[in-house]
Amino acid sequence: MKNVDLLLPLSIIIPALAGIFILLSKKESQGFWKSFTYIGFGFPLFSAIVLYSQFDETIHYNFKMKFLTGLEDFGITLHLGLNGISMPLFLMAGIVGFASGIYALQAKAERIRLYLFLLLIMQSGLMGVFSSIDIFFFYFFHEFALIPTFVMIGIWGGVGSRSTAMEMAIYLTLGALASLVGLLVIYTNSGMINHSFDFIALSHHLSNTPLETVLQQNIYGILLFGFGILVSLFPFHSWAPKSYSAAPTAAAMLHAGVLKKFGLYGIIQLISPLLPEGAAHWATILGWLALGNIVVIGLATISQTDLKQMVSYSSVMHMGYAFLGIASLNSIGTGGAVMLMFGHGLSVALLFLLTTCIYHRTDTFDMADMGGLASKAPVLSAFFITATMAGIGLPGFANFWGEFAVFIGIWGNESIQWMLYPAALGIVISAIYGLRAVAKVFYGQPSVNFQKHMEANTVRDLTTSEKIPALILIFSLLLAGFYPGFVSNLINRDIDGFKPDKIVEGIEQPATSIYLSHMESKNGQ
């Protein structure tokens, strides 16, 4: 164990501890809880950057650490570590968390310390989700991060937020429950002598003695349902637009940006490798549902008149690409989905942040009541255009590589090849709603209501404390956009299943991922 490995557990504990300190602090001692906020959000980002730089490409799981929990009889240990798929997402969680944290500090919410506490608990859970090798804790940390979201929507949400929070809580708990059932079925049926939740042990065991085909298919179905709800897969998406519109900005950034990726991450990292037959069985249906996300929700996004609703719908729409990448059943599409998760997390967080900045200047989310904001707030307008362009997959931003790899991947799977045509329609649909919003909010002349608002209030450009979190997100998007290898090399290393000799000998092995070998064996029959 190296010292640097300690950063991993610390990045989970420190935000939670900082949160508790903030809750216990006095309201007057601003310096105290402010500095703890910086520590609580800054530390995970710092450790993510250090861990990224220390990542050893020749080792499968880096920074591995085991903690005894007293639940060893059930095969539960707190087993932490990062591989090429979780490392980028861990980093993304650090970046988005830091941006939302420092944005929350200046947001001046009521009961600010409770607000920061809940946010830090979320952050702690998020760092745990992506660093858990143990499936039990993977699930545990997700719930840990999810519950503060409900509370935050309930307390700080807008009108009718109680019932929204309730609906979201019930719906997402249903999803979480279904995925728990699925995970437990894998656990009980794995056929291991000592039952274990440890993913590495499970995958070793199941790759030698896979589960029965029918069982795989059934478990995968349950998990797809459960994870699908959590990721707002069509038609299980109804909770998302409502909740995000009601959620306070920082919570929406963290949930839409990071927490929502839990389901996709679960499918790509855990479920598909464990249940390859199940993945193959459900691919076509998943493809159809993903098209629902892209085309149906895409069109519904065009119909939005409320800016925040539009951003929420667009985030649901883009999940369709990620699911299509998974449905492609090849490493190109699946890797593209991970790349897209990275980019989308950053870009949607940026959009939610800027949407709230617009709200603070216009006092409304209704796009018809805005207009001409660019002359008053040029920096805000430039940032929003940047965020829109990143979201709609312009080259130069991380999202482009994700979408592009997904498109390539789709054509590689002959049974869903045709889906490329409707899926690619998404690039036009997203351009339509994105640019319409830009034109309505920033270009042209101010609407009558906005004119009145401007006469009564001074409309300023972005303040420094709003600029900094936005710049962090933009910089990360551009970095991964101009140098995709920054993220894709890690993903690529693990997406086929890690093969140490590939790196050591420097020889490209023929692609024999679990997917591919499965597909080959099917074709051979």
Binding site: W401, I408, W411, A431, A439, G444
Partner: protein, 627 residues
Amino acid sequence: MYTESTLLLGVLLTPLISAVVIALFLRKQGDIAAYLSCFSALAIACLSIQLFSIIPTGQEIYITIFKDYFQMGTFSFDLGFLINPDTLTLLFVVSFVGFWIHIFSLGYMRTDDGKARYFGGLSVFMFSMLGIVIADNLIMIFIFWELVGFSSYALISHYFKTEKAANASKKAFIVNRVGDLGFLIGIVITYWQFGTSNLLELQSIIGLEPSSTNWIIAALLMCGFIGKSAQFPLHVWLPDAMAGPTPVSALIHAATMVAAGIFFLIRIEFLFTPDVLNVIAWMGTLMAAYGGLCAITQSDIKKILAYSTLSQLGYMAAAFGLGYPGLALFHLATHAFFKGLLFLGSASVIHGCHHEQDIFKMGGLAKKMPFTTVTFAIGIAALAGVNYLSGYYSKDSILVAAYAEHTMIFWILMGSALVTAFYMGRLFWIAFFGSPKSKNAKNAKESPFVMILPLLVLSILALFGGKVAMWPENLSMSFLSDYRLINGLSDSILEDAYHQGHTLLKSIGTLAWIFGILGSLFFYGLGSKNDNLGIRMPSLFRFLDSKLLIDEFYLWYVKKVQQKLADFIHLMDLLLIGGLCVRGTAGFIGLLGYISRALHTGSIGAYVFWFASGLLLFWAYAIGIFS
């Protein structure tokens, strides 16, 4: 190899650095930003000239600068440059014309508030455009392709306060994306079909096995060209794009970006099948006629030039489709000279007339703006194909090629040449002669030297750019063989056809421009106040002015079909999925709870009743009533 790759990287990164510096530090220092951007354009021009001097004639150079730039599973692609005579020709056009348009902008945008934004946008554009020119694979071309689309969007929306610019920029981007949709799918299929997106590799694979390409791939990739080069049915964005600053129209929407579509076709010529080439030839021919006819009824000086650009792009597409990519490239280059000149001339006019764009409100500019008038006249002459000017050589070569390949196409293109001379003559006689018809035109004054100089330089090119011998040999290689073939300068089977038809063709071409320019003089007269066509033949005028109602059709589609469908889907999403399924399920469970709660009334009588009925049911079951 080392020096070439350094030079190419320099060419590509200089504008990017300039754009980044402007965006980060010079947002409020418009003047410095302007000089920086111009300086970077100058540096690009110098580096390009250096590059021309070291690359031997006819050599094809490919350099991989970043292996496995993006890799995912079995898919990977490299960044690289592919330099051949085509590249060099377009590199010259972009860097040289681009530089002079930068200089011109110094004068034109001198008092503009968004100067830094404007020049930053120009630098982004130069970066993306040069990327398209030197890229060596389809994916890289697509990346820069999208980026030019973005910079075009940003520059069209420069005057974002006007509703016109807001809508035009949006329209340009979305329409381009429709084209890119096909382009993207085409790239994906090409990749899976051939296992690569590298142009040279593709060329050698198809060279070995010509049957490996098919019309689907060609047609999909062609979509990119249709969007970017504004061909039917995606041409609607270009006239609207005139809402941007006029130098931008000169650079992006006339000389370079829209021509990038043609360049792209030339780059991937080997992928095309005869039937798709035929489609392109006809599409171009019809666009040449359509654009010209639409230009006749326009009164906005920029819109006339925009429709003229559509028409000239049609000529290039026709030349490509007929199997003469060299002639398409040649016309692309000369068109960049004279159309760049014309747009800058119109910018000078608009600048001089205090942003008046209606030609019927101008008049008498010849006296007030002598330099602009002379250079504009040169541009018109070159465009109309006046003998021995640049447009004459390139356009007449295309006409000869059309004559050799397809008579019908030839006559349509020849008719369009007449129309070209006619609408340009109309513009010239009305705007520059007679008496001023508005206060703005009365107060017009000649533009400053910084704007006149680019006009002079470009008019020299418009005058002499068509002389093949004037071109450096390693550039002219790109079109020389097609040009020689068509003009009977090389031994070929076409030589006889050439000698028979050439004198006749030349005479017809000459007659076309004479009739066009003089006809417009007789028809409209000098500096007329009203559109004589509208007065004398109102029905014809209305027909031409309707432009086949294509814009109206799209507007109807967006408003009545797309929006209605989106609203309907949104409603269904709320009602069926969000309401019936989600709320319905919740309601059903709530109902169950309500019913079971009703059973627990708390009164002994009710419990006795339920107990008794349960007993009855049990008894009934026991004696076998249900079985």
